[in-house]
């Protein structure tokens, strides 16, 4: 909705790194203390700018991991050939300063009332779970009872972000995992990439007028979004956010 548009100019603000949490060996959550943070919606992102001592700068966008009303936090996956993510996941320490600009994005957002009462289907590939976690937290914070299914695809159990938080999900939230590369012994869950058969089992039937949020690498988003359309989801009720490269 247009009412969520960014108004006026977004300026860069200094942020101080607060507590950091290692979520997996490659993924870290950083709380960012921004004195004049204007607040955000679940699903939005921020721009981060780093400056070297000779003035060289690098900017990237990261999804916000925290719910509206919670302190601003981002969850960052280290990309081996990255420029900003290795700094944020390995070098940055509590008390360091960087710059943020935001919040940004008004389409891939959820608030109580989004979807006009239908259940929520959240589908995450890898660190695509970050904005969906903000949605789950906002649902609880706002006291919403909308039923949620989160289908979360990771390479292995070690790569699952927020595993302790999702281990005890709030009432009305189901988390379904698929581990595509390796599985713990005795794993009972899915062990393959998300496909149409899995979506048919996990996704709410289209007749319940679900609203879907799909976030992950392009190949994941392409196949999940296409699969949901095949199941009868109207394209306008499948919101997507993609990151990473297709190589094509």
């Amino acid at each position: 909705m247009a009412g969520t548009a960014v108004r006026g100019r977004l300026s860069w603000q200094t942020a101080t790194v607060g507590p950091v949490t290692d979520e997996t060996p490659r993924v870290r959550t950083l709380r960012l203390e921004v004195p004049d943070w204007p607040g955000h919606q679940a699903g939005q992102h921020v721009d981060i700018r780093l400056t070297a001592d000779d003035g060289y700068q690098a900017e990237r966008a990261y999804s916000i991991a925290s719910a509206p009303g919670e302190p601003l936090a981002i969850t960052v996956e280290r990309l081996d050939d990255g420029e900003v993510s290795p700094y944020l996941t390995e070098e940055a320490r509590t008390g360091d300063q960087l710059e943020v600009r935001g919040p940004i994005g008004g389409y891939f957002v959820w608030e109580p009332g989004s979807g006009s009462g239908g259940p929520l289907l959240l589908a995450a590939g890898g660190s695509g779970v970050v904005p969906l976690r903000a949605i789950v937290r906002e649902r609880s914070r706002a006291g919403s009872s909308v039923p949620v299914r989160l289908l979360y695809s990771s390479r292995s159990w070690e790569d699952v972000i927020y595993s302790s938080e999702f281990g005890l999900p709030p009432g009305g939230v189901e988390v379904v995992y698929t581990l595509t590369r390796s599985q713990p012994r005795m794993w009972q869950g899915y062990a393959r990439r998300v496909d149409d058969a899995m979506l048919a089992e996990v996704a709410w039937p289209a007749s319940e007028r679900p609203l879907a949020y799909v976030c992950g690498p392009t190949s994941f988003v392409e196949s999940v979004a296409a699969g949901l359309v095949k199941l009868g989801y109207p394209a306008g009720r499948v919101k997507t956010e993609r990151f990473g490269a297709t190589g094509s």
Binding site: A2, R9, T51, G247
Partner: protein, 199 residues
């Protein structure tokens, strides 16, 4: 300016900095960004139309592909910060398409399968600056990158290069499109870093 302790950056000495707008980094990949599922319109049902002139004009796929084409190599800049240099495209110039329409509007709203829209000044579509592209890297443009045809306006941020484009609506006033309604810049010049409203 705030120095980030311990940040040195990974500069790419092989990249000419004069070709990289502020805040961008060069990638060799071709990332994808879109708001919903990828539409698949069969070519038999595809048309490209320009409305809002004295007469509406429309081309079928075959009629469109019979128009003169150009190949070009250009740099593209996405508002999500990646830039890709020396991309190769084939398409029909907007000079050709708008040259077949009688109009005096100053703006267009481009529209696409899936409901996407984006706004541009007509002046930015003329003078060899914009195309409706159907080929990329010597092959037909893939659906995830906007095929069968997308707008290509490489001097503006790439969200202006609407994927799955189906036509233009000529307008007297500049009305925001999809991302512009969500706070992105009405014009989107990467060299002036016009990412968001007010930039």
């Amino acid at each position: 300016m705030h120095v980030s302790r311990g940040f040195h950056g990974r500069r790419r000495p092989e990249v000419d900095p004069a070709r990289v707008p502020p805040g961008q980094y060069v990638t060799s990949d071709f990332p994808v960004l879109s708001a919903g599922p990828t539409p698949h319109t069969p070519l038999s049902k595809w048309t490209f139309s320009i409305d809002g002139g004295r007469e509406p004009v429309s081309w079928t796929w075959d009629e469109f592909r019979a128009l003169p084409t150009e190949t070009l190599t250009t740099d593209i800049h996405c508002v999500t910060r990646w830039s890709k240099l020396d991309t190769m495209w084939e398409g029909v110039s907007l000079d050709v398409l708008l040259g077949m329409v009688d109009y005096d509007a100053r703006y267009v709203l481009a529209f696409s399968d899936g409901g996407y829209t984006t706004n541009l000044p007509v002046a930015d579509l003329l003078g060899g600056k914009a195309w409706v592209a159907f080929g990329y890297g010597g092959s037909p443009l893939g659906a995830e990158h906007g095929g069968p045809a997308r707008l290509l306006v490489p001097h503006l941020y790439f969200w202006k290069s609407a994927k799955w484009v189906r036509g233009l609506r000529l307008r007297d006033t500049d009305e925001p499109g999809f991302w512009e309604n969500y706070g992105y810049n009405m014009y989107g010049d990467p060299w002036r870093e016009q990412r968001y409203a007010g930039d």
